[in-house]
């Protein structure tokens, strides 16, 4: 059991950091192990935001040299970025092990990601013009405060509260997953995929990388692979209903879209609220109520349903 949520403000920006924090806080009981956010701010022309980490939170409690290792790893990442021609405009150490860089780079994103992730402990959490992906251990309040998300203004976002069932409790197994190497694409998932290893092997043969053993990562990589073949988001999601096996409800975001898919058994919940200005969805209505306390009309999407909303 995990909690997933998403919101999109149509044609305007909103207080998505506070809204997502509030919704994920209401879903805490569905997964207390970790919390993650994928938020979309206002893009700046020709700039990218890279979120990455060079260690797990739990690494800080291990060994005498971890702090020095983190410094060294970050220095190597910087060196490799500059070596590939990345112009680092600003850098921020959000925690000791997690960083946010504002960069200019118009080269191959996959090459950049692979080169950085070749550094020990390094993992790209997201690359995008608008996407900022943050995930860490703890509940929504803890992660939101730690990464200062309360005042984040943006157009849309998704989030996840994780109850670890299939893989470890660590940041690499937390959601959302960035759809490597596609900029601005992120996925959150509630459920279990039963053809994970078959699917993973097939995608690895096609050159994709997996950073965790979490079955949910398969959805992000699967969608990235489909889009790489020129298939649009809605069709890729529709294909996933037959090609991914198991029980699942997932939510995906791109730079300008929010989508949801529910498997044909409809075994995992999803509640939706939609009006002319906003679409909000969550595993439980209580999450939606946390930002819409007045009476609203909500509904459950049906089995095998795929919906995509545009900004």
């Amino acid at each position: 059991m995990c909690g997933i949520a998403g919101i999109i403000h149509r044609g305007k920006s909103g207080d998505v950091g506070r809204e997502m924090t509030s919704m994920l806080k209401a879903l805490k009981h569905r997964g207390p192990d970790s919390t993650g956010f994928a938020l979309y701010g206002t893009p700046v022309a020709k700039e990218h935001i890279i979120r990455f980490k060079v260690a797990e939170q739990e690494d800080l409690a291990k060994g005498f040299h971890i702090h020095k290792d983190i410094e060294d790893r970050k220095a190597t990442v910087d060196e490799r970025m500059r070596g590939l021609g990345v112009d680092i405009l600003a850098e921020e150490a959000v925690t000791e092990y997690a960083f946010r860089y504002r960069v200019k780079y118009d080269g191959d994103m996959r090459r950049l990601a692979d080169f950085i992730e070749d550094v020990e402990g390094a993992e790209i959490l997201s690359i995008g013009e608008a996407l900022e992906l943050v995930k860490d251990l703890g509940d929504a309040d803890v992660v939101s405060q730690q990464y200062d998300l309360g005042g984040f203004i943006g157009t849309h976002g998704i989030g996840h509260t994780r109850m670890a069932t299939e893989s470890d409790v660590d940041i690499r197994s937390a959601h959302p997953y960035w759809a490597y190497p596609f900029k601005d694409v992120a996925v959150v998932h509630n459920g279990q995929l039963t053809n994970y290893w078959n699917g993973r092997r097939a995608l690895e043969h096609r050159g994709h990388r997996f950073m965790s053993n979490c079955d949910s990562e398969l959805i992000a990589v699967y969608l990235a692979d489909k889009m790489d073949q020129g298939i649009d988001l809605k069709q890729a999601m529709t294909d996933s209903l037959t090609e991914l096996d198991g029980v699942f409800t997932y939510v995906v975001t791109t730079a300008d879209k929010l989508g949801m898919a529910k498997d044909t058994m409809a075994a995992k919940p999803m509640v939706l609220y939609e009006d002319d200005e906003t679409v909000v969805l969550a595993s439980e209505e209580a999450a939606i109520r946390s930002i819409f306390p007045h009476e609203i009309d909500t509904f459950d999407p049906y089995e095998g349903e795929v919906r995509v909303w545009q900004l």
């Binding site: 058994m265 919940p269 509640v271 209505e285 009476e295 049906y302 089995e303």
Partner: protein, 282 residues
């Protein structure tokens, strides 16, 4: 709860027609086992005209449920719950005569395990509303989530909007009424009772149903294993008209146009053998 006269009337109308062929079914689900005027020995003596309001905005589910019990103990027979805010497990286990109104929506497992109250929900309900309901009425004015009325044994459970998947899964009695559409696997492993859906039904309707009757007003995406069309009787049509009228509802194309789905009774359980006996025969 039904009086003895009501029961005789329903028998006279031919409403108890289920053929419980399997030995397990005959043992556990005798149609004569239902009691009339049954009340629990520790039921609260409430006055239906004694009304109070309870704002639960800042209360946890346990606190709310204990407070409702305390109000019944004080004799309140009409309780209005304000600001339920889709909280889970509200007002479960009420085994009492009570008029209960929710001015808003419920979360998961709302009003489960009830026996006797008359409940209205002005908003929506989440998954598993009225699970294991024994008697009484529950009317939802908006939509409902999945597993609406799972394993209910009696009473009327009504949703005026759409409901999710697996509506009436394991239904053992009572009536479920849906004003809109219902999702996949509705009536899955249904054993007794009736389900009326005025809109469409999703895939695998009535899958593996043992008994009971499902009436669908709209399109059926597909019937499940051993769920087959049945022939609507005049008595059933009259009963549906009356039942729907009780809740201000009407079949869009008339009840006579509705499709009736029943169990084909071709599954293993209908040979009157227990599984271990079947192994010996085989």
């Amino acid at each position: 709860m039904a009086t003895l006269d009501d029961k005789h009337k329903s028998y006279g109308m031919g409403m108890h027609t289920e053929q419980l062929k399997g030995r397990s079914l005959s043992t556990f689900f005798s149609v004569d086992e239902e009691s009339s005027n049954f009340t629990y020995p520790d039921a609260f003596q409430v006055d239906i005209d004694k009304k109070t309001e309870l704002d639960v905005k800042d209360m946890e589910a346990t606190e709310i449920n204990l407070k409702v019990r305390a109000l019944m103990k004080e004799g309140y027979g009409h309780i209005v719950i304000k600001n339920p805010l889709a909280k889970h497990s509200l007002c479960v286990g009420i085994l009492n005569r009570l008029k209960l109104e929710f001015e808003g929506s419920l979360g998961y497992f709302g009003c489960g395990l009830i026996d006797g109250p008359n409940i209205t929900v002005k908003g929506r309900v989440g998954w598993s509303c009225a699970e294991n309901m024994m008697s009484g009425t529950l009317v939802v004015e908006k939509n409902a989530g999945s597993t609406f009325g799972a394993a209910i044994r009696g009473g009327d459970l009504v949703c005026k909007g759409d409901v999710g998947s697996r509506t009436g899964i394991d239904q053992k009695g009572g009536t479920i009424i849906v004003g809109g559409n219902t999702g996949a696997f509705s009536g899955f492993m249904m054993q007794r009772g009736r389900m009326i859906v005025l809109g469409d039904a999703g895939i695998n309707l009535g899958d593996s149903m043992y008994d009971g009757t499902i009436f669908i007003g709209g399109k059926i995406a597909s019937c499940g294993v051993d769920a087959v069309p049945g022939e609507m009787t005049d008595i059933e049509a009259q009963w549906m008209e009356r039942k729907l009228a009780l809740y201000g509802m009407k079949a869009p194309n008339g009840v006579s146009k509705m499709q009736k789905i029943v169990a084909g009774k071709q599954l293993w359980n209908y040979d009157n053998l227990e599984p271990h006996e079947k192994k010996i025969v085989l």
